[in-house]
């Protein structure tokens, strides 16, 4: 059995496709190339082996949900729920992504080249060395990082199909009580949750951000200097328990 496997996914029902992938992983396949993917759900969900996968086309809902290790590259647009509750590994999307990506993410990286939908990175968490990271190269919708409990969110606003839209939507970081959000350029404080501290920084002076951006630029072949020539707005949680008194009376 070859260690690289190419599959033409055109017209294959998602259950059959995923079963085939799982069987091949058991047989020792380490790298997959999926061609003509269109809408098949749950690809590599829950997989714990360090396999690689290149996807050509549009993978369906919940790509890489609960996965713990694999590296996925999507050469096309993605849909909703990418990296849902992902544990570790990496997903790189060379297009736009849908809503609720990185929901409750616990580790690993999700790099999106262009715009992302609503509710990206909500309920993200971190523990010790497990720090999830999402970078959106375009613009994000409302509720970016809502109820964020850990991890890093970055939005650049540079590669977008929505030139007239603001870089982030409304309710940015609402309920944040852990982690950090970096927005390239300015953010209207009106859009930010009242739990956010807001600070302007130079990317060059922030080691965490610097390392993330270098990796991101490397993956998409983007000029790093171009990205860091603007200042970033950093949002951070003013308190670890914003609702500590909500039910106390």
């Amino acid at each position: 059995m070859s260690k690289v496997c190419e599959i033409d996914a055109r017209g294959i029902y998602y259950k059959d496709l995923n079963k085939r992938i799982r069987d091949l992983i058991k047989q020792g396949v380490k790298k997959f190339i999926l061609k003509n993917v269109n809408g098949q759900r749950y690809i590599l969900d829950g997989i714990r082996e360090n396999v690689e996968m290149d996807i050509y086309g549009v993978p369906g809902q919940d790509l890489g949900a609960f996965m713990d290790g694999p590296t996925i590259k999507v050469f096309g647009d993605g849909q909703d729920g990418i990296a849902n509750t992902m544990g570790s590994g990496k997903i790189v999307v060379h297009g736009i992504a849908g809503d609720v990506c990185g929901y409750g993410m616990r580790g690993g990286k999700l790099f999106i080249k262009e715009d992302a939908g609503y509710r990206i990175g909500i309920h993200m968490k971190e523990y010790k060395d497990k720090v999830p990271v999402i970078v959106v190269g375009g613009k994000s919708g409302d509720f970016f990082g809502e109820y964020m409990a850990g991890g890093i969110l970055v939005v650049l606003g540079m590669f977008t199909r929505k030139p007239s839209a603001p870089i982030c939507g409304d309710f940015l970081g609402t309920g944040i009580h852990g982690g950090k959000i970096y927005v390239r350029g300015d953010v209207d404080p009106y859009l930010c949750g009242k739990e956010c501290g807001i600070e302007k920084i130079e990317a060059e002076n922030d080691e965490t951000l610097r390392n993330i951006l270098k990796e991101y630029c490397n993956d998409f072949n983007i000029d790093y200097n171009d990205v860091v020539k603007e200042k970033f707005t950093m949002l951070w949680p003013k308190t670890k328990r914003p609702y500590g008194n909500l039910y106390a009376y």
């Binding site: 269109n38 549009v58 369906g60 849909q79 849908g98 509710r119």
Partner: protein, 379 residues
């Protein structure tokens, strides 16, 4: 109103799939395209409802209202025919063509009637509408059948358009109704996942009134308020699914009250007060007035909807984007769907895909008398 329907749960929560497209040159396109677009979203539904709306399909009867009837029994259908024979001019009637399929094992009686008002003053007077107000008259006829004739429902009533729907997966419903044999310049489709109301034939999408059709993914939490508001204007909600109110609200706001489509959309999904507070005075006053006048038309809850009439297609989300909607274009056709995969399935050449902003309609209007506003728009 005493509800004649035996299903009596007023609430519906669904997680459906939808898609649609419009050819801006009104070029007729085979139903095969839309069937592909909805079939790829098979798993967004559960086989308890599928349906389609198609525009431009009855050119030979384009001046007649095409009434699609579903009846529980031959007796109900006979009662409808007797009623139509004394209220409208029936140009032509026939069973709706179907084919035997493995998946659709039973269906109600299905028949279509191409009709128009007879044009005499007594008829208009009997139903309390103005002389010559044909659309109003036909609405009264539909409401009468749906409310008063036991076991009979009009599920489509526009000119040169038709809705086709039933219990089953949409691809099976399409095969059953032979939709591959129709050609239209606007098509919409729906895959239903009902969880709180029974999947019955009348409850499938699209919902229609005259040439308005609507397919909807989500839940109209404001159903009760909207229903009571519509009842004040004589609309009867008989189909026991929340989406019905959207079809009637569009009819009321756009046909009756003559609001431009964009303004009607702003009434259905109006900006939050916190946004209105930040507007310039003129805009602030306009939105405040809109919310005051049409407060009871506001749609609350999660939704992505596509609605169409003979002159256009509109896609819209609720104000906080609780359901997905994506749009793409290719040549002179605009495609909309719940998933990008559906757009690509309808046309692999689509290369500019985007997700519209929550609450902001994407309007494709072919009516030259109203100013065309394209997607990606600003307020």
């Amino acid at each position: 109103m005493v509800n004649k329907n035996r299903y009596n749960d007023p609430k519906d929560i669904s997680n459906c799939g939808l898609c649609g497209f419009i050819n801006k040159d009104r070029k007729l396109v085979s139903g095969e395209i839309i069937i592909k677009g909805i079939a790829i979203q098979h798993d967004r539904g559960n086989g308890l409802g599928g349906g389609f709306a198609a525009y431009g399909i009855y050119p030979e009867f384009k001046d007649y209202y095409a009434l699609h009837l579903m009846c529980d029994s031959d007796m109900a259908m006979k009662n409808v025919e007797e009623f139509l024979n004394v209220t409208v001019m029936v140009k032509h009637s026939e069973p709706i063509p179907t084919r035997k399929t493995k998946a659709i094992v039973s269906s109600p009686k299905l028949k279509r009637f191409f009709v128009k008002p007879r044009g005499n003053s007594e008829d208009y007077e009997r139903f309390g509408v103005e002389d010559g107000a044909d659309d109003d008259y036909i609405v009264k006829i539909i409401m009468h059948i749906n409310e008063k004739i036991d076991g009979a429902y009009v599920f489509s009533s526009g000119k040169n358009m038709g809705a086709f729907k039933g219990v089953g997966f949409p691809e099976d419903i399409a095969e059953f109704f032979r939709l591959d044999e129709y050609k239209g310049y606007i098509w919409t489709a729906h895959n239903r996942f009902p969880t709180n109301t029974p999947g019955w034939w009348g409850g499938a999408h699209p919902f229609t009134l005259l040439d308005w059709s609507i397919v909807h993914n989500g839940e109209i939490s404001s159903y009760g308020i909207n229903k009571r508001y519509l009842e004040m204007f004589g609309y009867k909600c008989t189909l026991l699914t929340d989406t019905e109110v959207v079809a009637y609200l569009l009819d009321l706001l756009i046909r009756k009250h003559k609001l431009p489509v964009r303004i009607a959309c702003m009434a259905l999904a109006s900006p939050f007060w916190k946004h209105i507070d930040r507007m310039e005075d003129e805009e602030k006053n306009a939105f405040t007035a809109l919310r005051m006048v049409y407060g009871s038309a506001l749609l609350n809850g999660p939704f992505a909807i596509l609605f169409a009439n003979n002159d256009g297609l509109v896609g819209m989300n609720d104000r906080v984007k609780l359901r997905p909607l994506v749009v793409g274009t290719c040549d002179n056709t605009v495609y909309m769907a719940s998933e990008i995969s559906s757009l690509k399935e309808m046309n692999p050449e689509i290369d500019n895909v985007w997700a519209p902003k929550a609450g902001e309609p994407v309007i494709v209007n072919l009516d030259k008398t109203e100013k065309t506003v394209k997607g990606r728009g600003k307020k």
